[in-house]
Amino acid sequence: MILLQSLNSSRDFLPILLMFIVAAGFVSFVMVVTQWLGPKHKSKVKADSFECGIEQIGNARSPFSIKYFLVAILFVLFDVEVIFMYPWAVNFKSLGAIGMFEMFTFIAFLLIGFFYILKKGALKWD
C-alpha cells in the first residue's frame, strides 16, 4: 500500500505498461514463430484428442456424473465461509474470549451442516 501511495504521477506506471507490452509481445512472437518453424504433418490420428493412448469414445461434451456437481457446490459453500475467519484472526486479541466463543459457535454451525451432508450421503461416491 505504501508502495502504491508513493506513485504520484502517471509516469510511474510506465514500468507496468512496459511489462504489459513485453508480455504481449513475447506471447505473440512465440506463437508466430512456432507456426512458422514447426513441421506440419496432418493426419486423422494426429488431429484426434489425446486420451493416454486409449481409443476415444463419444463426444467430450457428454453429461458427467452429478456427483462432481454436488461436491463442487459443497466445496464452494464451505470454502467461502473461511473469509469470515480472516478478520477474526486479525482481531483475535482484541476480541478476547467472546470472540473465541462466537467463532466456535460459527464453526459448530458449519460442522452441523457438514455432519448433515455426510449423513445424507452427499459425499458418497458409489
Binding site: M1, L4, Q5, L7, N8, S9, S10, I66, F69, I73, L74, V76, L77, D79, V80, E81, I83, F84, P87
Partner: protein, 105 residues
C-alpha cells in the same frame, strides 16, 4: 483518500455502474440460464467494488465486512440457483430459459 493517485472515488462509481448495467442487461436479454447466473454475479461484484471504494473513502472497515457477507451469500445463492437449474435440466433437457413459459395468465 485515494488508493491510487489520480483515480478518485468517482472513477470507481462509474466503473461499477458500468459493470452493474452490463450485468443487468445480461440478466434481461441472455437466453442461457448459466450466463444469466454469471450476469447476476457480475452485478454483485460491481456492488462489492463500489463498497470497497466507499470504505476506502470513509476510512471505515464496515463496508469491507459487508463485502464478506455479500460474497458468502452469493455463494449460497449460486448453490441454490445451480441446483434449481440442474432440476430443470433433468426435466426438460435444456438450459435455455425460453422453455420456461408454462405459467402465463
Amino acid at each position: 483518500m485515494e488508493l491510487i493517485p489520480g483515480i478518485s472515488t468517482e472513477h470507481y462509481i462509474f466503473l461499477s455502474v458500468v459493470l452493474f448495467c452490463i450485468g443487468a442487461f445480461g440478466v434481461m436479454y441472455r437466453k442461457n440460464a448459466i450466463i444469466v447466473f454469471m450476469c447476476i454475479e457480475l452485478m454483485l461484484n460491481a456492488v462489492n467494488l463500489l463498497l470497497v471504494a466507499f470504505s476506502r473513502q470513509w476510512n471505515g472497515a464496515d463496508a469491507q465486512v459487508f463485502v464478506f457477507f455479500v460474497m458468502a451469500v452469493a455463494a449460497a445463492e449460486v448453490a441454490v440457483g445451480l441446483a434449481i437449474l440442474m432440476m430443470i435440466y433433468r426435466n426438460t433437457g435444456t438450459t435455455d430459459i425460453n422453455v420456461l413459459n408454462k405459467l402465463k395468465g
